[in-house]
Amino acid sequence: MFTVIRSKEAVLQALASTVNRDPTASDYRFQDDPYLTPKTSSEFKLFSLSQESGRNAAKYFISTYPKYFQKDYAQPHIPCLMPETLEAQIEEVSEAALIERIQMRKVKAAVDLYDQLQQAGTPVSLDVTNQLLDLICFYGDCDPAQENEDVQDEPQTKKGRASPCLVFSFRENNNAERIFALLSEPNTHSYSALIRGMVKYGAYSKAFSTYTDLLNNQLKADVSTFNALITAAPEVKEKYNEKWELIVDLLKQMAEQKVKPNLLTLNAVLKALRRCGTVGKSQAFPVISEMRALSIDPSLASYNHLLSIFYKPGAPFQGQTDILQEVMNEVSGKSFTPQDPDDAQFFITAVRICLDTKDIEQAYRVHELLGVGENWRLLGNDFQQNIYHARFFSLLCMMENIDVVLKWYRDLVPSVYYPSSNVMRDLLQVLDTDNRLDLIPQIWKDLKQLGHGNRQTLVEELLTLMAREKQNQEVQETFAECALDIKKMYDTGDRGKVMMSWTAGSLSDLVSVLLAAQRRQDAWEILKLFKTHNRVPSEELLDKFLTCIKESGDVNQALELVQISAGFCLPGTPKLIQRVQQEFLLSEQQNLSFQTHISHNKNSLLFTFSVSDTEKPVHAL
């Protein structure tokens, strides 16, 4: 009999592994309410943030008014649903109270209590003091902004919270240093807290002098201290090789003090090497080999730093293109777990390099890696996901043919990626390159849904593409429908969005598309818009229009066309008149009105054509 001990999530994990992504569905977060299915990137952002902020608001109320939320219905008890205690429970001056304040991360209250304990002569144990030092150094000697207040004040959560503390750098004689000075026998932990705090708040040279102090006290540093110092190393030296020498020196001291490096050490060294120029390129791989020998396997953050060392944005890529390939050889098929906050940078860095070097093959490998195991978590937040997909898709547009591009397009848009108008323009270019303009109406529908229907440049490009060549009849029909739809977009300008304004180019493209589809009446309507919007049609357009009128033999319309042309004072009007007279059978009355019209034009001296030019054919009739 065996009993296999499975984790409590094992059953669900097995079930989850059977579910594949549905490229037609939106993100799972939005599936509860079809009304809230995002269609554009801004909607996506809005909906996901509002969902999150709703959660935060609920948490805020529960924590602020715990007395209303004491009823515990759940059996067994669910601790995470109960309100957190935000007020200190222990009032007396004691070590226990200090511990409580430290756990509640109340920096000021903890420091005050410590001072009271000192004044009362109550000894505080070294461990508790160290914890207090940790707290002070971590928050830079100021109280952390409450998460809940944050929700109300500024929706941008994380950055806003950290910044007010970052403003204060590590001040002279702050509480951390004061308390540290009071310690009779500071140990490694005390020094570690102080040095890490100094590095975190930018007092780099002070951190190194504290480290010297530590060595003078015959103590050993711990691995996190070294990590912090390595991070600080590029800040205290000027030259590339000096920076590197300092890092090597620190590593040697680690070895001397028998401190085993960890993954964060590796990543700190590589991150520092990013700022060491050419030294970084020569030393990056030996560093990785060194850590491999200590059985520390690089995480995605390490590879990210490595790529950043070799591929500086904007720099030429000669001879380095294969580093990406080497990295991909290393990571392909592996499932990574998040171990470093920088892990989430890898995918966007890798795909940026693919885009810069136009290396579609590696891009596919990067994308494949994303599908392995839990790697998708390492793609980072929504913003990074969008960057990643935009880069990947741009590269596809650049390098692949339309069928492949469309396959990816259907797969990614709009379930995970909401393309920007620039990317959509790339897509149009691919359509153009591969002669698949017949897909334009489909793309227009997507464009409209993605909220790019009012991007003037994009819409004009769409119209130009449709008007440029003559397609077969069926396609022209769909083009005409699409063109009329675009016209609606110009007309409505829905819900306070930016209105597009007609240009001569867009109008004449629209007319050409409609004419090509034999929709003379619609085209005629558009032609009238020239006048209402004070645009001037081109002569070729009117010429084309006349040809179309001729096919139906509508004389009146032909005359009107000439009148429109004359109304715009086009220099091509005489030619148009000539064509009308030659190609149409004008009745007596029409002839008369036509002639008066011509003479009217002549009288108004708008045209410089000669009498014989126009009148001869009339007489011939």
Binding site: V11, L12, F138, D222, V248, K258, L294, P341, A344, G380
Partner: protein
């Protein structure tokens, strides 16, 4: 647009090749027809390295250059001689052409034709190169054989280069057509791009060529035609192409192909070059600061510090934690403790009761003994209470005890009232 540009260039190049083909004299065309498919077939079927092709094309150029010079005087002197050195010199280029094809037995009979048609051979090579650029798989196939080649290079043939290849080609060509050692072919193709110091290598090569020339070869000197001259002539061309190849190794093919160098191209050749240039950088030497298996001084660990918690928090925030489907959301809830754990266990949350035996729950009389009266209404009431408690599955044993204790206290407080009533 980048890809569009490429398409255009390919089209232009194809056009060029086609025009070259049509410009051929009709007799040549016929013969080309006869052997062109043979050349095409192996190159599509066989995993060929572009390196060897680009390399042989270099020589192709050089030899055809020198050959043109050479051929004219030759034709005056010894035109009808079947086995002249002039013939051999054409064979050189032929041999280089067949280098990549020689393992294919089919093309051997065609050799004689190719000898006469070095020019058309070049064109076919151009076509072949055009075709090769598409073949991506070659990189992978060449890679494994790389290390042995590199290792044999220094001792066996220290000066391997285009020149040494000429030597071999001439030597073999005079003896037997198209039976070049495959190992040699492999070595030569490996050497193509491994000339680190061009000038030094070149001078050494010249020396060796001269030495080779000095070797008495009766067979070759029989007609008084000095092969040394031919080789010396080749060197001119060889140096030229060689210099170019080391200057721009990746775009080599393109230059020879249509004469227009274009800059941005990272095709198969670049990739191949990278493979040859160095081994995987991840296996490079280490810094040797730490010693593996190092003992770590154990510090007193007090559980996670604030910094550790923050690191974990940062990692969580940096990564994408949003569930992708319902099951993943349930996993998240399970981790937060909001959901029953699967598989469903109706004793979940009753862990501390698991060790309490059944009879503790049911037989509660032992708790009544000391302080309750032995008989009477209180006793009767308490018996009812424990019967109820014994059937109650919502309470733990501890709670049941507390329940009984509460009644004990209660009746103790009401002791005098009870006594009064009874008494």
């Amino acid at each position: 647009m980048y890809r569009r540009l490429l398409i255009n260039i390919y089209q232009v190049r194809n056009g060029l090749i086609h025009t070259q083909n049509t410009r051929l004299p009709s007799t040549k065309c016929k013969e080309r027809e006869s052997f062109a498919p043979v050349i095409w077939a192996p190159c599509t079927a066989r995993p060929l390295g572009t390196s060897s092709i680009s390399f042989s094309e270099n020589k192709e150029n050089s030899t055809s250059l020198s050959e043109d010079k050479e051929k004219r005087p030759e034709e005056n002197e010894a035109k009808e001689e079947v086995n002249t050195d002039g013939q051999k010199s054409t064979e050189i280029s032929n041999a280089t052409l067949t280098l990549q094809l020689e393992t294919e037995p089919v093309d051997k009979p065609e050799d004689s034709k190719q000898v006469e048609k070095t020019k058309s051979g070049k064109e076919s090579l151009l076509e072949l190169l055009g075709a090769m650029k598409v073949e991506v798989t070659t990189v992978r196939k060449i890679r494994p054989s790389k290390t042995p080649r590199m290792s044999e290079r220094p001792d066996q043939e220290p000066m391997e280069s285009t020149h040494s290849m000429f030597q071999h080609a001439t030597a073999k060509g005079s003896q037997q057509q198209g039976t070049l050692n495959p190992a040699l072919v492999a070595a030569v193709s490996a050497a193509a791009s491994t000339l680190p110091n061009r000038h030094q290598a070149e001078s050494e090569l010249l020396k060796q060529l001269r030495k080779h020339e000095a070797v008495p070869d009766t067979q070759r000197r029989a007609d008084g035609q000095n092969i040394g001259h031919i080789i010396a002539d080749m060197k001119v061309g060889g140096r030229k192409t060689n210099g170019r190849s080391s200057a721009r190794p990746t775009s080599q093919i393109r230059f020879d192909d249509d004469g227009k160098g274009y800059t941005q191209d990272r095709g198969i050749t670049g990739e191949l070059d990278a493979v040859r240039r160095r081994k995987s950088p991840f296996t490079s030497k280490r810094l040797n600061i730490f010693t593996a298996g190092m003992e770590q001084d154990t510090l007193s660990v007090l559980g996670p510090t604030l910094w550790d918690i923050d690191l974990a928090n940062q990692i969580v925030q940096a990564t994408n934690q949003a569930p992708r489907n319902g099951f993943e959301e349930m996993i998240q809830w399970t981790k937060e403790g909001k959901l029953w754990q699967y598989p469903i266990n109706n004793e979940a949350g009753l862990e501390e009761e698991a060790s309490v035996p059944f009879h503790e729950h049911v037989f509660l009389e032992k708790h009544l003994d000391e302080s309750f009266p032995r008989q009477g209404p209180v006793r009767h009431f308490m018996e009812l209470v424990i019967t109820g408690l014994a059937k109650n599955h919502h309470l733990t044993v501890q709670q049941k005890k507390e329940h009984i204790d509460w009644f004990r206290d209660y009746f103790r407080q009401k002791d005098d009232v009870l006594k009064e009533a009874e008494a």
